[in-house]
Subunit: 330 residues, 2 copies
């Protein structure tokens, strides 16, 4: 099987996930061609997944494929955008048709669940590496940014954090989970942390609903503390975050949860006057949201984020995942 | 230096290459935000560059950066699009600031030369791997595809081919060329083949001019024979190509040039009635174009492309670069 046969097979496996009303030309030409409706801006992002760093070497293709897509879609959620299309570039050491078919099942499921057609890609030979570029549509007046948090706004968080990070330390992490197996797990099940890790849920629907209510947003990928610091820096504000207000997964200590990555919840700032409406919209989606702090004047604090336990400031030595620090491999 | 410091440095080095009138949000948020003017469709592509396969391990960062960008921009040319924006995902084994600065110089030069702002990206740790996603704008009635060649059309080619491929076999290939050094070379210079390899010129300007004249197009990346076969397959036609009509670089035999990749010239099909105008437009850009064959009915021929030397059919054993065939490393 050569690369062109493999691409034909991938496109066939993805099936309906490569198509959509706005897809004028899908996989198979030099570029895909996408209809952009008038009145929308495009938002664009790219992210890479490296075996042993962003997913464990033993993970099944279906989980890798699903996770690669949803983690990227989470960046669209952080802008309040609706997905328009995605592109996938893979570097593979060799052609393992079984793994690739499973990978395609995972990608297809994510694309269909979140209405994001995969319209093109590229395959080359080399150490396993997956890059996904995602694109979305947003009305200019409803684009969520990191740079627009205002002093006095509340800091809010969807769902809970720490679950994906906890999964890495549980013995069952080395098991061969499958997408179907994880999907059957519910909160309270022993393996639910693995579902949190492998199948994070980008908060696309909620982000679009609050895009005009919230003042700023980011998705929590590297850990709440690190990601909140990006908002603080971009907005030139401080964020005071109360550890006791943070919703943590299944008994994970808050000090651990704030430096654990991979949860892909949405951290957003909100004028207090909009809180009731934001809560009502969350309830309609059956999504818990929590107020975890407040936007304050920017102080001299190194990261712009100050953790508190009640009225007591808290300092943590480790502040989030760093790709070149040599720590924290999967 | 951690990844965030490195990203800050890259954005600073890229400078004006990250900005543009249509860039509403550039690097630094979860996504970039781009103004899409009404009346245009978006075209999108992604491509990956692996060290030792798409560029030699000894190549300077400036050449790798420039080449990674222009090779992708060539896919926009093949659609007749004008660039709108690009995203860059890099996997690096470690942080080599000198190499990275050089890489940024090359990227910046390409972005500015071809008016394509680089609006976002991602850096992770792992074996060196570069993925670039490029996006462009095209009016729906002026989008060039592979699938619309018509029987009777002429097959045309910009520039000449075989130069980039010839470079790989010349002893000077192992020298440490620099972007500035290569730019000073002119046709006839001994090292001009290296300029062809490292600094291919995407035919963006010409492609846009002929987008309504041509019936189909593809850029020549894997070799004319392989790429022409994609047009033949997508259009369900045959292509008869005359070896003696192919403009070859500096004495490279046509049989060798048609299976050499990396030239990034534009191969397009054209109703004969449009030839005069296509030639006039090419002359205005000082770009030679050649008629190299004709679109014929699809025959039983395996690839859809039939080479001729005058009236004599020619068969070649090797038909183009294949990523998983284990041959043809850089």
């Amino acid at each position: 099987m050569n690369e062109f046969d493999l691409i034909d097979r991938i496109v066939a496996e993805l099936g309906p996930a490569t198509r959509g009303a706005s897809v004028l030309v899908g996989p198979g030409d030099d570029c895909a061609q996408i209809d952009i409706p008038p009145g929308f801006d495009l938002v664009s992002s790219i992210d890479t997944f490296v075996q042993g760093r962003h997913f464990p070497a033993h993970a099944g293709g279906d989980l890798v494929g699903y996770r690669a897509m949803v983690v990227n879609l989470s960046d669209l959620a952080a802008m309040g955008a609706q997905p328009s299309h995605a592109l996938l570039a893979m570097t593979l050491p060799d052609i393992d048709v079984g793994w690739m078919d499973a990978f395609c099942r995972g990608v297809r499921k994510a694309c269909i669940e979140f209405s994001c057609p995969l319209v093109g890609g590229n395959i080359t030979r080399g150490p396993l590496n997956i890059s996904v570029s995602v694109h979305g549509l947003v009305e200019r007046s409803a684009c969520l940014k990191r740079s627009t948090a205002k002093v006095g706004d509340l800091v809010c968080l969807t769902g809970d954090i720490g679950g994906a990070g906890a999964a890495l330390d549980l013995p069952g992490f080395m098991e061969s989970w499958t997408l179907d197996g994880l999907q059957n797990l519910v909160p309270g099940d022993e393996g639910f942390a693995f579902r949190k890790y492998y199948l994070p849920q980008p908060r696309l629907a909620y982000a679009r609903k609050i895009a005009r209510l919230a003042s700023a947003a980011i998705d929590v990928s590297d850990g709440l503390l690190a990601d909140a610091a990006h908002v603080a820096k971009a907005s030139a504000v401080g964020l005071r975050i109360q550890l006791e207000s943070i919703p943590c997964f299944n008994g994970v200590p808050a000090k651990q949860a704030v430096v654990a990555g991979d949860d892909y919840e949405l951290c957003f700032t909100l004028p207090e006057a909009n809180l009731d409406r934001a809560q009502t919209l969350a309830q309609a989606l059956n999504l818990p949201i929590s107020v975890i702090g407040q936007v304050i004047e920017r102080a001299e604090h190194a990261s712009g984020v100050q953790l508190y336990d009640g009225q007591k400031p808290v300092e943590l030595a480790f502040r989030g995942y760093q790709h070149f620090a040599g720590d924290n491999p999967v």
